[in-house]
Symmetry: C2
Subunit: 216 residues, 2 copies
DNA sequence: GCATTAATAAAACGAACGTTCAATTAATTC
DNA sequence: GAATTAATTGAACGTTCGTTTTATTAATGC
């Protein structure tokens, strides 16, 4: 046989991406074979090579698009205010929401970096650094404005990111806690961790009830 | 050729373990071949099977011993006091010291769980849970004693562990910060995160200068 | 409806994988 | 110093891997 009835390049490529994210997250990149992936899509292994020239190209594409999506999400969410506490809150909320929604892809971007070529690894790490710099800038501004108490901005940024991204390790949708509850708790842990002055935050959100500020 | 002059089973086995930790941490378990490992040890691949019946046995041994070491380290460090803040401080210090000293093995225990059989995975996770329960108990005691302010003990425990273990991702010995400096900063972040009452901690360490308590 | 292009199957490639086995030599025991 | 045990080699086994090639059929354009 050859071309099958109803076959469509776009649909097949989308199915390949979807199946690849799921399989690589579950088995690991090295452990997943192209034949396994093809079977999941309902196609022969050779067909995959129409869409991705090599297995590593497939991995890199998934990672690059994940990182681009993260940067884009933050650029769309980034608040206009220059209040550091409000910006930090937005960063935390966006980070958790994005990563919980893309648990599998996040897992891949965190775990499979070593399977990339040097050049591509550099490319992904550059995007990651760009994203982390945003957090460091917020923290630094907060310290300079006197609304955050931080000993070491770089170290605190890493600690926060590890803490937040760690959500995907144990979070399962539909279990004890909802995304909203998790986000709220992480937000309050973050604010305490960076010694946020409650007044600085509530002052930036004058229309919200005092109760919200106290919860921090 | 066959047995080589000076060959010694104990030394070879130790060399295999050492090389395996380093190689698996760097390349990943699936990506490391037995031939590669043998070459690193300076031996033929077949010789490895004298010490570990399968590749997975080797992985499991490394992980089990790592977890046993962690539990043992905590049992040796665990303070006699029942002051929750002092116990939390000891937990954090032990956790960071242990994991920084065993960066590679920690990496393996975190990343390669999916390569274990179901039964062995369960065994490792049981040890991990035992260790995490210790932290939850400390936090719970702290809340009940009124010296910690925590919304969700389980979630906070996970957040703390992710944050602390995350050190191994970016920490490199001999760089900007020493282990002591990192530990101090993480300790203070932890204490703020759990809303520790400074008095409760310093009261348990009456001979230390007030400066230390303030740093929290 | 014919020519062209898109999408796939089927088969095969060489290389690498984990593992086994028999042979061989070094160290140890008595 | 002979017999035994410990440690290792070298070659081989069957599988599976990522990938390529060629042929074939469906969809599309004119």
């Amino acid at each position: 046989m050859a071309r099958t009835t109803g076959s469509d390049g776009e649909k097949t490529e989308a199915a390949v991406r979807e199946a690849a994210v799921s399989l690589i997250a579950r088995l690991g990149y090295e452990a997943m074979s192209m034949r396994q992936l093809a079977a999941e899509v309902g196609v022969q292994a050779a067909a995959l090579y129409r869409y991705f020239p090599t297995k590593e190209d497939l991995l890199f594409t998934l990672m690059r698009e994940h990182m681009e999506g993260l940067l884009e999400a933050w650029n769309n969410t980034r608040p206009a205010t220059n209040n550091p506490v409000a910006r930090l809150a937005a960063y935390v909320e966006n980070h958790i929401a994005f990563h919980i929604e893309r648990r599998h892809a996040t897992h891949i971007s965190n775990m499979e970096l070593r399977s990339l070529s040097h050049e591509r690894l550099t490319q992904i790490l550059k995007m990651r650094t760009t994203y982390e710099k945003e957090l460091r800038a917020i923290l630094r501004d907060g310290v300079e404005a006197g609304v955050l108490e931080i000993e070491d901005v770089g170290l605190t940024a890493m600690a926060l990111i590890q803490m937040m991204t760690g959500v995907i390790v144990w979070f399962r949708p539909g279990e004890r806690l909802s995304i909203t509850e998790v986000t709220t708790t992480y937000l309050s842990m973050t604010m305490r961790l960076v010694g946020a002055k409650i007044d600085a935050y509530s002052a930036a959100r004058p229309f919200e009830r005092a109760k919200d500020a106290v919860a921090l």
